[in-house]
Point group: C2
Chain length 338, copies 2
DNA sequence: TTTTATAGTGTAAGCGCTTACAGTCAATTT
DNA sequence: AAATTGACTGTAAGCGCTTACACTATAAAA
């Protein structure tokens, strides 16, 4: 394929510095085991040759890579961006590197990416949500790959997770909505199939709805992918019925943003004609107009804690227990008292 | 650290299938060189053992990794998300994998990440913008690492780039703004230091401003990081002067979104009291209110072409020339004729 | 039938590193 | 002075894979 210019190796450095490869390796990884004189000599050789260690060789020989893999459903909207950024920053502080890939919400693809990352020697994995094929967990267990599940929480499960209770949070939001006088709800949920967070959120709404004595049949629900345009389209469907909803509760802020803008384009006033709620409290939620009432999730905190837990797990330290974070309802203009 | 369960290797597979490791390797990589019978036998062994190839070993032995590295300034806002997603999809189609890391707009960190990815055996690199230390380019050249620069375009340079002319685009937008009667402009630029895209965009505004016979001294410019809250804060500064601007041109949509919401919070009507423009046409631009007049960048197309170019480069095929993509001005409500 | 391809397989030499182990030598102890 | 220690350093055996090369059948050609 390519002209291969000579790339300096440990051997080259060793030769130039007139020491053994073992010594060079020590200079790079365990300075304290080497005399100051040797260290200087070696570093100079490294410098002059422009040597960079070959990561693959190192990982293979050392059987650890200081690399963490993360697989998120999508990079295309900001749902995971903030948490992941914090996750990465925390890892970096501890000299771990992050490899990210995205699964496009497809379990098959996710499973493949997991293998991919493990094959790459990831020391640990960050996965979103807990619902996946048992075979995947088996694989991870057999390989002894420490794994943290985030963005969801299942305290009773045997996996360590750092997240929040999607269901309870959504139930709480729904309680609030109903308290505020709304009786005609409509729901635009994410696609629940293969997405436990979406499923839990929907369940949370239903919990509240039933607890208030209403019947599930009277709760219109449509499922759509997490994209603003899906939210927009769904809105049009929902308002074409006889009894218009007084509030549309969305599975996340992205859907809600789509709803709000389409509503405005169609001449509806939010929240005077119709209220809208979201979930996640991403940037977008503050900047659409009217700003979204939503569930605030401490994304950065979650990312940070997930990183710490994972590293603890990898380094066999204590403190790797699951954590359930608190979320709260962020009231903004898109939801109105009736 | 961890109990190390036995992880099956090529040797194990070879033993179980009663063939040599070379044959197993062929079954995995060059099926056509192997008899159907052997293939079946081997695949069965692979299956029964739950074998997954060790990536590091493979990369080391084969001296190629089918991995592309990308370093973007940030994952935290959506500027790069869409293009990167398309980039990844295109790579995947050709069986290349993507490794992403972010440099937080710090050249030093970027340089480090470049070495990191190269050390990991990346077959090629995607970098944003062209402005970086010559030493970095030297390093890349010495190692023979094919590199594509995106989100910017410098046709005369020796590097291959897939992007658009930030300066010309912003100049065009500014021409439009001035044509629409605006004479009191104010600019919220990104931080231009170490960010050639931001610098070019600012230069584009200045080009137009001067071409229309105005003086640079009369063009208030402030630089802020690409965050909505910076845009919001900058807005407050800009309107505290005697002669309020009739339009605020922002270095990108993120800043503009911040401006628009803060303006509203402070009781300004956009665009009646003040117009606002952005750049990039990310999702956010459509969903803030009023929607942003901005420069539309074909992010997905750019990502796709960048991927194709890079692969061509790596595989020494033709067609790896730089491409400059067309952008256009997307008029929306945030900019008003005076 | 003998020669010559050809398809399929095995052998073994690395790829660039880490690290157990052994060795050297000067500084301390006894 | 001999023995012990400890600080450095070197030797060499892998880590799990790919691939050049050699080899063995079998089919095609002569």
């Amino acid at each position: 394929m390519h002209e291969t210019p000579h790339i300096p190796t440990l051997d080259d450095v060793a030769k130039v510095a007139a020491v053994s490869t073992a010594t060079v390796s020590r200079c790079l990884n365990e300075k304290q085991k080497v005399s100051a004189k040797t260290l200087a000599k070696v570093l100079e050789a490294v410098e002059s040759l422009g040597y960079t260690p070959n990561f693959n060789a190192r990982a293979m020989a050392a059987k650890q890579s200081r690399t963490i893999g993360a697989i998120i459903p999508t990079m295309e909207n900001a749902i995971f961006a903030r948490g992941l950024q914090a996750f990465q920053e925390t890892l970096l502080e501890q000299r771990y590197n992050l490899l990210v890939s995205s699964s496009a919400y497809q379990p098959k693809l996710e499973a493949q990416q997991i293998r991919e990352l493990v094959a790459r020697g990831a020391d640990g994995l960050l996965l979103i949500g807990y619902e996946r094929d048992e075979a995947v967990y088996d694989y991870l267990a057999r390989r002894g790959i420490p794994t943290v599940l985030a963005w969801a929480s299942k305290p009773d499960s045997r996996h360590v997770s750092v997240g929040f209770d999607n269901r309870a949070a959504m139930r709480q939001l729904t309680d609030r909505v109903i308290e505020m006088g709304h009786r005609q709800l409509a729901v635009i949920s994410g696609i629940v199939d293969g997405n436990d967070r979406a499923a839990e959120r929907l369940a949370g709404i239903q919990d509240s709805w039933q607890a208030h004595g209403f019947h599930l049949d009277d709760l219109p629900v449509i499922q759509r992918p997490y994209e603003t345009k899906s939210g927009a389209a769904a809105f049009e469907e929902l308002v074409q019925v006889d009894v218009k909803p007084t509030v549309i509760m969305c599975g996340n802020d992205v859907l809600a943003a789509g709803v709000v803008s389409r509503a405005r384009d169609l001449g509806f006033s939010v929240p005077d004609d119709i209220s809208v709620t979201g979930f996640d409290d991403i940037e977008l939620a503050k900047h659409v107009y009217p700003a979204l009432t939503t569930v605030h999730v401490p994304h950065r905190k979650m990312g940070r804690i997930a990183a710490d837990s994972l590293i603890n797990l990898i380094e066999d330290r204590e403190g790797e227990v699951s954590q359930q974070l608190d979320v709260f309802i962020q009231m903004r203009a898109s939801l109105k008292q009736l």
